[in-house]
């Protein structure tokens, strides 16, 4: 195989590049949100766009989430392809009516006449001490409601490729990026926030999970940070002679059921890890999938590791206690393989 030159980008630069390429290609694409202009988005996802495209296509809005998400719906119905940034997913509370009653349902209720090609981009996740209203992922909250695709890429490569897919998709897509994978200077520096990203536009399909590590003894399913934690845990498991297969879900909706079921056919053990609340969450959905369609492939009950049902604590040590990490995954996995 030819070794291509590595071009390293952080998560936020990968997103901004995807948007830039699509804005160059299609004049209907534009960006709206709080501090997305000169500031470049508080997590850097729109950096440089204002300078290139100006205030007509990169629009700083008042702090009116209902207004700009609702306006994106109107603009999309009129043929535009808006990308709107909800600064933190936690703020969905002030604008959820526009999201789930309108963005998600108007295409359906119009009998398929109205298309809403909107990307609702939003920052998720904790781990940097930002307290209960700024640290949630809320993956399941969005994934539960029909009418929107929901993606949560884990690497700069996928962030770019899936953003391009999202922009070109005729359905509303909720595009979640994880704050700690953006490569921001004021956060802990993670290797996972930097990765190879080709210069040109390319697509990573929505609805396809990725086996990021092959193994034979146990399947670990994660998304965003928990994928990276799972990979780290897998290294440690290997030292104990256990080969873990790690699946990066990447899309919550549509869910790639095949990849998961294929994997448990091979490993016969399933651990699902999530940086969202345990109850009624993504881990439950996948456990149900395994129970319904893969029960006879399993040698042991499914295990779930997620945030206990408490709001995310502000203090660092307390927060670290509730968030999944490589160590916790390792321990859960060890218990599971010894069952």
């Amino acid at each position: 195989m030819q070794k291509t030159k590595q071009r390293l980008l952080t998560g936020n630069k990968a997103i901004a590049e995807a948007i830039r390429l699509e804005m160059e290609r299609d004049p209907n694409v534009f960006v709206m949100g709080e501090d997305v202009g000169v500031y470049g988005g508080i997590f850097g996802a729109t950096e440089g766009l204002f300078q290139q495209f100006g205030p007509k296509r990169v629009i700083d809005t008042p702090i009116s989430e209902t207004a700009f998400i609702g306006a994106a719906i109107g603009a999309a119905a009129e043929g535009m392809r808006p990308i709107v940034e909800l600064m933190f997913v936690d703020f969905f509370g002030v604008c959820m009516d526009q999201i789930y009653n309108h963005m998600a349902k108007i295409p359906y209720m119009s009998g398929g006449r109205v298309k809403l090609p909107i990307v609702l981009m939003t920052a998720v996740g904790g781990g940097y001490s930002d307290a209960a209203q700024h640290s949630q992922t809320l993956y399941a909250t969005f994934a539960h409601l029909p009418g929107m695709k929901v993606v949560a890429p884990s690497t700069p490569y996928d962030l770019k490729g899936m953003m391009i897919s999202a922009i070109r998709d005729d359905n509303p897509v909720v595009f979640m990026f994880h704050k700690t994978l953006q490569g921001l200077g004021w956060m802990d520096q993670l290797d996972a926030s930097v990765g190879h990203v080709p210069e040109e536009a390319y697509i990573v399909p929505i609805g396809k999970a990725k086996v990021v590590r092959e193994g034979t003894d146990i399947t670990i399913v994660g998304i965003q940070m928990t994928t990276h934690h799972a990979l780290e845990a897998a290294k440690k498991l290997e030292q104990h002679g256990i080969q873990a297969e790690v699946i990066d879900l990447r899309s919550l909706v549509p869910l790639d059921r095949e990849t998961i079921l294929q994997s448990i056919k091979k490993t016969h053990r399933l651990l699902v890890v999530d940086e969202d609340y345990l109850s009624y969450g993504m881990t439950a959905e996948i456990a149900a999938l395994a129970a319904e369609e893969g029960l006879y492939d399993l040698d042991a009950p499914v295990r779930r590791l997620a945030v206990p049902d408490v709001p995310i604590p502000y203090s660092r040590p307390l927060e670290q206690f509730v968030l999944p990490n490589a160590d916790k995954i390792f321990h859960e996995a060890m218990k599971l393989v010894n069952e």
Partner: protein, 359 residues
């Protein structure tokens, strides 16, 4: 047809940038009051600067400095009765302190202590709000309740210029006015919402004028003039307590520092602008000029006061840092009045894991 240019909101000011004003008006403030007011403002500034430093040293979490807004916060709170309610945001640390919140509690808050958001029983201070605009509704409801119960407290809701773009703000003003509840909406227009300047936030010439649409009184005051803020607030509070309904006050001020410690203001505003406000319009300086003219403040007093406050800060920090209560096990107790069975199981699990970690 009516145009907003027909709305005249003159800015109330008693003390100009150089510490001058109408002598008769100024004479109505006692020496004692002026010294108290100034001490609070100086204290707030010292605390703010120390908190900023401590954040840089990694001793506290993300912090939203309020330097430049001392007159608006202290001036307004000193006009309240002890049992009046305040609804602060992350920016109102000075207001919280002046309304009685112990400094050590502020440190618990900024250190992310589990009980950091808990105000002492006897204090009517609502938990600090970070979701923009939400507290406007809570303050309205609280004021409504005091009215229904026949109590005398008023509720004071703090928020920034950016918050006036939220639906919550508009619904709150409408409600408060329809039900004529004793709430004061106190907007500190510090001219920026993170990177967005106020003229990109609203096309209204003033924020005060927004009151008119809701059939409510509105007033614009120089937010860097503590005396004007105090007097305006006092009038508003007395009226609200008297059953004359809500009011919207716009205090025009300026945020001298960054939005929070993770912000870099040079990205969106020129340093000169901030420097102008710092050197020419500082709320502390003009009050100090007045005090010195009256012969009730000196450089020695200033030094002694700053030293005393610094000691207080150190002591409060140490108290909070030494507080070892509030482990992860306790977190489960606050989610509901009593944890459900499932939550109790999760709590047990946490207890077990914590023991293993401690070992």
């Amino acid at each position: 047809m009516f145009d907003q240019s027909q709305l005249q909101f003159e800015m109330i000011q008693l003390l100009d940038e150089n510490g001058n004003g109408d002598e008769k008006e100024l004479a109505s403030f006692s020496d004692e009051f002026l010294v108290t007011l100034y001490r609070w403002m100086r204290k707030a500034r010292v605390i703010d600067e120390r908190l900023l430093k401590m954040q840089r040293q990694g001793r506290i979490g993300t912090y939203a400095p309020f330097s430049g807004q001392e007159a608006a916060q202290i001036g307004s709170v000193l006009a309240l009765e002890k049992d009046d309610w305040i609804f602060p945001t992350y920016r109102e640390i000075a207001a919280c302190l002046a309304h009685g919140l112990p400094l050590a509690q502020i440190f618990r808050y900024v250190r992310g202590h589990l009980s950091g958001g808990r105000t002492p029983e006897h204090l009517n201070i609502f938990p600090i709000q970070i979701i923009i605009g939400a507290q406007t509704l809570h303050a309205t409801g609280c004021a409504w309740a005091t009215k229904l119960k026949g109590e005398t407290q008023v509720s004071v809701c703090y928020f920034g210029d950016g918050a006036t773009s939220q639906g919550d703000f508009h619904e709150a003003l409408n409600f408060a006015s329809v039900y004529q509840v004793p709430v004061i909406f106190f907007c500190q227009n510090n001219q920026y919402a993170i990177s967005v300047p106020v003229h990109r936030q609203t096309a209204s010439r003033t924020i005060a004028q927004k009151a008119v649409a809701y059939g409510m009184k509105g007033v614009l005051v120089d937010g860097n003039d503590a005396l004007a803020v105090y007097k305006t607030m006092k009038k508003a509070v007395d009226a609200a307590r008297n059953g004359e309904g809500p009011i919207l006050i716009e205090a025009l001020t300026y945020r001298l520092g960054p939005h929070t410690t993770s912000d870099d203001p040079t990205k969106y505003r020129n340093a000169e602008e901030a420097e102008q406000w710092r050197s020419k319009k500082d709320p502390l300086r003009r009050l100090r000029v007045l005090l010195e003219r009256r012969g009730i403040w000196t450089e020695e007093k200033e030094e002694a006061w700053v030293a005393q406050v610094n000691d207080e800060v150190t002591a409060a920090y140490e108290e909070a840092a030494a507080d070892e209560t509030g482990s992860i096990v306790d977190a489960f107790n606050y989610v509901y009045g009593k944890p459900s069975k499932l939550l109790q199981e999760q709590q047990e699990d946490a207890r077990r894991k914590r023991k293993q970690e401690v070992k």
